[in-house]
């Protein structure tokens, strides 16, 4: 009897049908993604296989010529290497600092609110504005860091942070780290909050000390969430162009160039759209590999 009533109702009201309602609710999101991400994405692949430029409207298929040409370019190889090096080093730093920071964010102490505010500032500021502040902090003549180093007697004149290859690379890594640590810490904070109190209590009763508790309880239980934070961090560093663009524009002599800035320089500034697209496409295999990892993790932790 009851089932009969339900089925008849389902027939009467179209929107009571889960399939119909479900796909109806999904449609706007799907259209949006196809139009604004899918379409340009396909266009980027088409461009990479053609000879389009910003100036002309000509268009012809050239196969893999663009890829052959960019692979011959030492600047491209340098950018490829830099992209990985920057992402790897800054994310190692992010994990170490953010695990510590997460503990601070969940701890209870006086002035907690002020500390939280300061700690989260880097994340809530637009990347370009935050990097502009760093640009001045790392200025060749008036850097306050230089002033402190001079005051301590460690250097004589200036360090030229953005003028020397090694220091410029370190600057890029530090700005990335500084910007991503708060996000990673907030993600891990959620992980910490999810660890049942009983486990911590049991450890304390059993006499586990500070480090023992960290390394044998907190960190293993946090591992999947740390992995999620790392994946977000890696994606953010690999796909970002503003930090390098604002700080060094890839200089000195392309030593801090990354794929994102190089494809912008080639494709938009230099006008070789097809090569720009080919360079940007190189990021894709990496990101696909990351995707596979995310899928495996997503099954273990339900954060998404």
């Amino acid at each position: 009897m009851a089932t009969e009533v339900i089925t008849s109702r389902r027939r009467r009201y179209l929107f009571d049908n889960e399939r119909v309602l479900g796909s109806l609710l999904m449609t706007p999101a799907v259209i949006y993604i196809v139009a604004l991400v899918g379409f340009p994405f396909v266009l980027a692949i088409v461009f990479a296989l053609s000879d389009v430029t910003t100036g002309s409207r000509g268009f012809s298929y050239v196969g893999l010529d663009n890829f052959v040409r960019i692979l011959d370019d030492p600047v491209f190889l340098r950018s490829l290497k830099n992209t990985f090096v920057f992402a790897a080093i800054s994310n190692v730093l992010v994990v170490v600092l953010a695990t510590a920071l997460a503990e601070i964010l969940v701890a209870d102490f006086k002035g907690k609110w002020v500390v939280r505010f300061f700690v989260l500032l880097p994340w809530t500021t637009p990347i370009s504005l935050a990097t502009i502040m760093w640009l001045w902090t790392l200025d060749s003549l008036f850097s306050p860091i230089d002033w402190v180093l001079r005051w301590l007697g460690l250097i004589e004149s200036n360090s030229y942070f953005l003028g020397k290859p090694g220091l410029a690379m370190a600057s890029v890594v530090i700005v990335h780290t500084w910007r991503i640590v708060p996000l990673a810490a907030v993600i891990m904070m959620a992980g910490l909050a999810a660890i049942p109190h009983e486990i911590n209590d049991a450890a304390r009763v059993d006499g586990a000390g500070f480090w023992r508790k960290r390394f044998e309880i907190t960190i293993p239980l946090l591992a999947p969430i740390i992995a999620v934070a790392v994946l977000f961090g890696v994606i953010l560093t690999i796909t970002d162009m503003s930090v390098v663009w604002v700080l060094t524009r890839g200089g000195p002599t392309n030593t801090t160039q990354v794929l994102a800035t190089w494809s912008f320089l080639k494709g938009i500034e230099g006008g070789a759209l097809s090569q720009g697209a080919a360079i940007a496409l190189f990021l894709l295999p990496v990101l696909v590999a990351l995707t596979a990892l995310i899928l495996r993790l997503a099954r273990r932790v339900e954060v998404f």
């Binding site: 999101a29 340009p40 505010f117 504005l129 502040m133 909050a193 690999i238 932790v301 998404f304």
Partner: protein, 210 residues
């Protein structure tokens, strides 16, 4: 086991000392973290109030006001640049983005979570993958689209070229940019802070469920 009263007392003082040490460590790390996070901001807000004559002397202590503080850079920002227009544009765009995002994603999220569990999960992952597409990859074709639409001189130069040129160009604009960074960053950080706990508990709700 001969636990005397003295042993217990010693045990207790040791526990108290350990706790106190822990508190000191906590404060030390918290203050260091806050200073590291806020360093460019603290420094920018000092600089934004400094006279140019004070700034462009290498030997001047950058953390002190060697000359009287000034509002010149803020005055310049508000009177001689289009900063207020930028702020308004940002707010309009930001609001529009929030409204459109909610309109599109709320129904999608509902349908993913409640209605179609089987293909919902797969679709959800598919949507997440959009995160992975670098913006560089998208704005190169977008450039062609804008050229096709005949907007290259108006939109493109305004959106991308203009701000980046501005960043590197005028030195006097520097301190005003720093002032702008502070003006923009502080309110966002305040709001974010207010919602942090809610954000985290929303985040963990998903984690606890499984």
């Amino acid at each position: 086991m001969a636990t005397t009263v003295r042993d217990l007392k010693a045990e207790r003082t040791r526990a108290v000392r350990r706790r106190r040490l822990g508190r000191i460590g906590l404060y030390a790390v918290a203050i260091t973290a806050a200073l590291l996070g806020a360093f460019p901001f603290i420094w920018s807000s000092l600089t934004a109030f400094k006279q140019n004559k004070d700034l462009y002397v290498k030997s001047n202590n950058p953390f002190l006001f060697n000359l009287a503080p000034t509002l010149d850079h803020f005055r310049f920002l508000f009177n001689d640049t289009n900063f207020l227009t930028f702020v308004r544009n940002t707010m309009v765009v930001g609001l529009a983005v929030v409204v459109i995002t909610l309109l599109i994603s709320l129904p999608a999220a509902y349908s993913l979570a409640r209605l179609a569990r089987k293909w919902g999960e797969r679709l959800g992952i598919g949507i997440f993958l959009v995160y992975l597409i670098p913006s560089t990859l998208l704005f190169i074709p977008m450039q062609r689209v804008i050229v096709f639409l005949g907007l290259q001189e108006s939109l493109w130069s305004l959106i991308l070229v203009y701000p980046t040129e501005l960043i590197r160009g005028d030195v006097f604009f520097w301190q005003s940019l720093q002032a702008a960074a502070i003006v923009v960053a502080v309110p966002i950080a305040l709001v974010f802070n207010l919602f942090l706990d809610k954000f985290v508990s929303g985040f963990t709700m998903g984690a606890v469920k499984g």
